[in-house]
């Protein structure tokens, strides 16, 4: 744990420094090159701003309504026979929508069931193996003006579902 945190502390500074050193080696005016790139920062954020606001507020309405609890309750009789504990469902449902809401949900679950319980471990594994989907889709496509998303969402949802099944299965295997 300690070692991993220390190693990961190297990623960002080493990543930046390595690129700067490479630039110097290639005789690039590194500072000026940086400034030219950094100028796009504001433009990029301005371009994505309406998409971020549009999706974040809609997701917040959805999560604040408490309908995840109902959805989880409605789905649990289907998933229980498959060996998936219903307690983990709210996290699996919220994960594609919002990263921060999922972090909040995981925190609550770790407190309620304990981080070293089966549910705590499976929930942690699930959290570490999937990402937010709808926000990413809106942001990436919005930024370049794509309107038809084709199979992006269904394929990614299949992947999120596989994350739920895999997390529970792998944790059963490793932790019993």
């Amino acid at each position: 744990m300690q070692i991993m945190t220390q190693i990961s502390a190297f990623f960002v500074p080493v990543f930046i420094a390595a690129i700067v050193v490479f630039g110097l080696a290639k005789k690039v005016p590194v500072y000026e090159a940086f400034i030219r790139g950094a100028k796009q920062g504001l433009d990029t954020v301005v371009r994505i701003l309406p998409y971020v606001i549009g999706f974040v507020f809609a997701i917040r309405i959805f999560t604040a309504s408490g309908c995840f609890d109902y959805l989880a309750a409605a789905l649990s009789p289907i998933l229980k026979p498959a060996g998936i504990p219903p307690e983990i469902l709210p996290l699996a449902l919220i994960r594609p929508f919002s990263g921060s809401a999922a972090i909040g949900m995981l925190t609550t679950m770790l407190e309620r069931y304990g981080p070293d319980s089966f549910i705590g471990r499976a929930a942690s594994t699930l959290m570490g193996s999937t990402e937010t989907l709808f926000y990413t889709t809106a942001l990436y496509y919005g930024s370049v003006g794509i309107k038809k998303t084709r199979y992006t969402i269904p394929a990614a949802l299949v992947s999120e579902l596989s994350g739920l099944l895999a997390s529970v299965a792998v944790c059963r295997l490793f932790f019993g």
Partner: protein
């Protein structure tokens, strides 16, 4: 599809809020959510400027091209229709590497630049290309090697072994990424047949 999902979130959220008696919270969430999203964007300006600056140093040093050439074999399999000399190859690689290392802050601006490069290749300005679909599917499936946020949360909750989920998460995330790629490829073939 985005139109329906967006409308679904708002309509279902409002109806469910009425049933659960959370209407006040739902209204507050809308206003607060918009405010927070605005503040989030302001706070992103710095990070985006930093990473786009670093990216441009890499670009002017020819690193993106080198990366694109090196990773051409892998990228071509996953992202059909991207010419081998396209800058998109390098940008996609950087986006995935930043995701693997858990540098979410950097991954998004790299990913947005990759989308821009992919859009410049396409003929259809409205419709996502296969490569764009795949980029988002991979981003949504998480390729992060060390789930540091989760480890920190477990540690805060008093876990005896906060990092014991590293291996299970790695296995599970390999599954989600593989399933996502396969599902994308199957859909790709299916949509071409029609």
């Amino acid at each position: 599809m985005i139109n329906y999902i967006w409308a679904f979130l708002i309509v279902i959220g409002t109806v469910a809020g009425a049933f659960t008696g959370h209407m006040q919270a739902v209204g507050d969430a809308a206003v607060e959510g918009a405010k927070e999203a605005g503040l989030l964007c302001v706070s992103l300006i710095g990070a985006y400027a930093l990473w786009l600056g670093v990216l441009n140093v890499a670009k002017e040093a020819g690193l993106i091209e080198t990366l694109a050439r090196r990773m051409r074999g892998v990228v071509r399999r996953l992202f059909p229709g991207v010419p081998p000399d396209s800058e998109a190859n390098g940008l996609i690689t950087l986006n995935i590497v930043a995701n693997m290392l858990g540098m979410g802050n950097a991954a998004t601006p790299f990913g947005l630049q990759a989308m821009k490069a992919l859009q410049a290749l396409g003929k259809d300005r409205d419709e996502a290309s296969d490569a764009m679909c795949m980029l988002i599917i991979i981003n949504a499936s998480s390729v992060q090697l060390l789930p540091l946020t989760v480890i920190a949360l477990r540690s805060a909750a008093g876990s005896a072994a906060p990092a014991e989920i590293v291996l299970t998460a790695l296995i599970s995330t390999t599954v989600t990424t593989t399933v996502g790629i396969v599902a994308g490829k199957v859909w790709q073939r299916f949509s071409r047949c029609r």
